[in-house]
């Protein structure tokens, strides 16, 4: 190993570039799913009544498929903005957990870089990054940063281009095709794999039941009721399971 300090920035850059390519290779097979998703979200935005410029602003700024799909039915009925914000935050809560796990790797960076890394975090970049580096003795190496950026950046490009394609296709498809239902199916496809433990199944079923009976509540307030019931029942089921084990 060279002790010459002048050689080190180059070595770090090469290490980062190699890791970035590894991240891109790792994320490549998932990009087909990302593009389908982006397409469905793009179509859903215009089908729920957003104009093309509203939909473009939403995809480019919000960049969060499940929060977008969640907020669309609320926006369509003119629900209060605080509820739109609260619903989007709840669906995005997983990113808070991702952020807590990623923090030790990126805490040494400047705040604009941490802001950018956080904003461009995708489910996939996290899922690929953590198993690879969570046991790393040294956290915050150029290799780790490179891999993360390589796994996250292609997702942004593919998501935005397919979403924009969906926005313009969606405007051409007649309403009688009920393509808005594709968004409901997309949310189902995100929800079902989350049901991977008994407490999680309990939380989902209780939330669904609470959402069903609380539909007469105004302004989709049933959503808030359902989340509270779901979290409480999930915690209860978890405690019961642990008590028995």
């Amino acid at each position: 190993m060279s002790a010459d300090p002048a050689a080190r920035p180059d070595a770090a850059r090469a290490e980062r570039a190699a890791a970035m390519r590894a991240g891109m290779r790792a994320v490549a097979p998932t990009l087909i799913a990302t593009s389908t998703w982006g397409l469905v979200t793009g179509v859903a935005m215009v089908k729920s009544g957003l104009t093309e410029s509203m939909a473009l602003a939403m995809t480019l700024l919000v960049y969060a498929g499940s929060a977008q799909l969640t907020s669309l039915p609320l926006i369509a009925i003119g629900a209060p903005l605080w509820l739109v914000f609260a619903a989007g935050s709840v669906v995005n809560l997983r990113f808070v957990i991702f952020g807590a796990a990623l923090h030790p790797f990126f805490r040494h960076l400047s705040w604009p870089r941490r802001l950018a890394l956080g904003y461009f975090t995708t489910d996939m970049s996290f899922v690929l990054f953590m198993p690879r580096y969570q046991e790393a003795a040294v956290k915050g190496t150029p290799e780790q940063l490179g891999f993360f950026v390589g796994a996250a950046a292609p997702g942004w490009v593919v998501w935005q281009s397919s979403s924009i394609l969906g926005i313009f296709l969606g405007a051409m498809v007649p309403a009688s095709w009920s393509l808005d239902f594709a968004a409901v199916l997309a949310v189902l496809a995100i929800t079902v794999p989350l049901a991977n433990s008994r407490p999680m199944v309990t939380a989902i079923l209780v939330a669904a039941g609470a959402a069903w009976v609380s539909q007469p509540l105004p302004l989709r307030m049933g959503l808030a009721v359902a989340v509270i019931c779901g979290v409480a029942s999930g915690m209860w089921a978890e405690r019961r399971q642990r008590g028995r084990a």
Binding site: T36, V62, F95, A100, L115, A175, F181, L188, V227
Partner: protein
Amino acid sequence: MTAGLWPSEIYVYGAIALLTLCSVLTRAGFLLFGDHIPLPDGLRRALRYAPAAALAAIVVPDLLPWRPGEGPVFDLRLLAGLAGIGVFLYTRSAMLVILAGMLVLWGLRWVFG
């Protein structure tokens, strides 16, 4: 749904701005302020259930609608949604869920009018 239902453009752009803030806060919040945010283990575990509960709650009114004055009503979308869940459990493919669910909905609409 017609464009006339939209209260105003300001409302929609306000929603987009708030959702952008929500993206930034949830995704970058911990990376920015992580040194100052305590996240107790109990809270961390509770947070795991919230997204699944919210996602389930958001699809229920589409699958099992409840009309004002009429109470619960049956919609063919429920059968298409259940078909989609079945396809997911069998294939683990989100794309096939969307494809199968749409085909079932169109088929049922064609059969039952």
